[in-house]
């Protein structure tokens, strides 16, 4: 019925089936919207957060999606600035994934702060010393850049593109995309870094505190590297998931393998520094605070196994897998490495958020366990559902995948 709206020469499922799928997604949206309503009305007292855990699932979720959304800026940088042409086949997808991740994170942040109406104070009364100020500036500006990058794709929708003005507008935006990609790269590098810096400067919190050079603690650079080391493979995983779901080939495997190679290279650089950092932290930073490595861990939720999993199973191993052509070029292994890689980054963001504040710094204090409740899960699920929604609509109506027609030719 809506086939006139589909991209040129592309097949899609029936409208009925699509609507049923949207209805399914709406369940997640509705649950989250319900929770969000209650949170705005009653305050975040309804969540599982408390005075000990001011940061919890939401901040972890935000940091994780922002890292995984890094495919957008990094791929944009490689495509438009370093001119790696092959990436044009996946760049649209990375932009959409990036847009979803960032707009989603911003949505959660408005729920997370106690005074959402004052969110703009970050611009009005900025504290130039706070890494969070930098994050507020860069994330909002970068989200705008993503909108600008996403817009031409929407304008290229078959019917819209017939309108001469929109057609030319889209064309002009494409012509200047290198500029936006450049701005995006700059903004994104800084806020990815500042998110890491946010933790590194917590000099009263031994799990996260790091020294470094100039105004940046080491975590600043580690977060940038880890984001570019996982963002590209996350896009590959999203793409593959869509292929499985729709039963259509969307991107040539060669492009995916190239993304794997890019992520793998960055992940390897990251792992080198991360291992060095962990070692220096254990043998230098901690003892100077009168603490030992063992004191940083406790029980199962805050156990050492998490660190080893992050560093080796989800760090060194996928790095090796992704930089080894023989492994990377086998689809199943590429995807496995991608999953491990992304998992490692999520663990990293979790421990930096939760373990950092769970650790009792005062010697007579004790470990607390943080358990997020439904009011925190629901908005997180809502963001995922929102992602599915944007992606489903884009896939159905926009020319996201330039290779799709050729790859599926009978």
């Amino acid at each position: 019925m809506d086939s006139k709206l589909f991209p040129e020469g592309i097949e899609r499922c029936s409208l009925g089936k699509f609507l049923a799928w949207l209805a399914f997604i709406s369940l997640g949206l509705a649950w989250g919207a319900y929770a969000a309503g209650i949170i705005f009305w009653k305050g975040i007292g309804v969540t599982g957060l408390d005075n000990y855990f001011g940061f919890g699932l939401w901040i972890t979720f935000d940091l994780a999606v922002i890292a995984l959304g890094a495919g957008a800026f990094f791929t944009g940088f490689l495509k438009y600035i370093l001119k790696i042409d092959q990436l044009k086949n996946i760049i649209n997808l990375t932009v959409i994934v990036g847009f979803i991740c960032y707009s989603g994170a911003m949505l959660v942040l408005t729920l997370d702060i106690g005074q959402p109406i004052r969110a703009w104070f970050g611009y009005w009364h900025p504290n130039v010393h706070s890494m969070l100020t930098e994050v507020i500036f860069c994330i909002t500006c970068y989200c705008l850049v993503l909108v600008i990058e996403y817009l031409p794709l929407i304008l290229e929708q078959k019917q819209l593109n017939k309108i001469p003005f929109l057609h030319h507008l889209a064309h002009q935006m494409h012509v200047h995309m290198a500029l936006f990609a450049g701005i995006g790269t700059f903004l994104s590098t800084f806020h990815q870094g500042s998110l890491g810096g946010m933790y590194g400067v917590l000099f009263g919190r031994p799990y996260a505190f790091r020294e470094g050079f100039f105004i940046w603690p080491w975590t600043f650079f580690l977060f940038v590297l880890s984001a570019v080391g996982s963002g590209p493979v996350f896009t590959v995983l999203v793409c593959t998931f869509m292929e499985k779901l729709t039963g259509r080939k969307l991107v040539d495997f060669k492009v995916k393998a190239l993304m794997g190679k890019i992520a793998g290279t960055m992940l390897t650089v990251y792992m080198f520094f991360k291992l060095l950092d962990t070692w220096a932290w254990a043998v230098d930073v901690l003892p100077r605070m009168g603490l030992t490595f063992d004191q940083m861990f406790w029980g199962t939720v805050y156990g050492k196994w998490m660190l080893w999993t992050e560093l080796f199973i989800c760090g060194v191993i996928p790095a090796i897998m992704l930089i080894t052509p023989a492994i990377r070029n086998r689809p199943a292994l590429l995807y496995l490495a991608g999953i491990l890689d992304c998992l490692g980054i999520v663990i990293n963001r979790y421990v930096f958020t939760v373990q950092t504040i769970a650790l009792p710094v005062m010697p007579f204090d004790k470990w607390y366990v943080y358990v997020p409740n439904w009011a925190e899960w629901a908005p997180s699920v809502m963001i995922i559902a929102y992602g599915f929604l944007v992606m489903s609509l884009s896939y159905r109506y926009l020319p996201v995948f330039p290779q799709e027609k050729a790859l599926n030719a009978k």
Binding site: K42, P126, S130, G204, R205, V361, F364, Y368
Partner: protein
């Protein structure tokens, strides 16, 4: 250890808390609550919304002054306990100030007291994540008082709304009042005599364990106490430079206060 500059001020209001005198009675906690219009945790239930505000959840209460119980981890008869009241340390190099994105909290001239501007706080709680002393508290719920109790609210302190972070400010209104009084009496508001300005917790402490005054002024009792060899500060090694000192003649209390490793020599 800290990467931040320490601010120095001519007047430096501070406390010396004698751990050996503190009985852990909690009078300071109550005095603080009343003086600063801190809303009590009232139980509230909205089952349909999944809201159960449990008044016994100590992690959700507003407790600017909190008394910790510590012990020497030995078995009877060597067992010893002590109590450590913990207000905001008004750190010389506060972990909470540089992180706030909107300058809602600041360390300024006011005798080195770390201020908190409630109308500006956006409730991001980054300052809570930064403070290792857990001295900051978030307003999880709208402040409500049991019927009748609201009549006893102090007119000089504002009540904080839901969604902002608050903390001990050394009863700042008392500071203002002391300065006003000095002005009226022809004295110097910037050179208050010992005892002209005391916090509610110090005033109410039945054993006199909490002494308050200008740490920089040799005429104030705290000056000598803070310079005593029995004085120490909590987590001194982290380098936040608290303006609250503890005082104890017991070695284990000192060691516990600054996280010494079991075999480490005290610096």
């Amino acid at each position: 250890m800290s990467g931040h500059a320490t601010k120095e001020f001519k007047v430096r209001w501070g406390m010396v808390i004698d751990v050996d005198k503190c009985t852990g009675c909690g009078a300071c906690m109550v005095a603080c609550q009343v003086e600063n219009n801190i809303a009590p945790a009232t139980p509230e239930m909205d089952a349909w919304a999944g809201v159960t505000h449990d008044a016994s959840n100590k992690l959700r209460t507003l407790t600017w002054m909190l008394v910790y119980e510590i012990n020497n981890k030995k078995a009877f008869p060597e067992y010893e306990a002590a109590y450590m009241p913990r207000p905001c340390m008004q750190c010389a190099s506060p972990a909470c100030v540089p992180v706030c994105p909107v300058v809602a909290t600041d360390k300024n001239e006011e005798g080195g007291i770390v201020s908190q501007v409630y109308p500006r706080c956006i409730g991001c709680r980054y300052c809570m994540a930064a403070c290792p002393y857990h001295a900051r508290y978030f307003n999880w719920f709208d402040p409500t008082w049991p019927t009748g109790m609201d009549k006893g609210l102090s007119p000089s302190t504002s009540v904080r709304p839901r969604g902002v972070v608050e903390k001990c400010n050394f009863c700042h209104t008392r500071f203002q009042q002391a300065k006003d009084k000095a002005r009226q009496d022809g004295g110097d508001p910037n050179n208050l005599p010992d005892g002209a300005y005391v916090t509610a917790c110090a005033e109410v402490c039945p054993t006199g364990a909490i002494v308050f005054g200008d740490l920089n002024n040799p005429e104030h009792k705290v000056h000598a106490l803070a310079h005593s060899k029995y004085a120490f500060r909590l987590l001194e090694k982290l380098g936040l430079g608290p303006q609250v000192y503890y005082y104890s003649k017991r070695e284990w209390v000192h060691r516990l206060g600054d996280n010494y490793l079991p075999n480490e020599k005290k610096a």
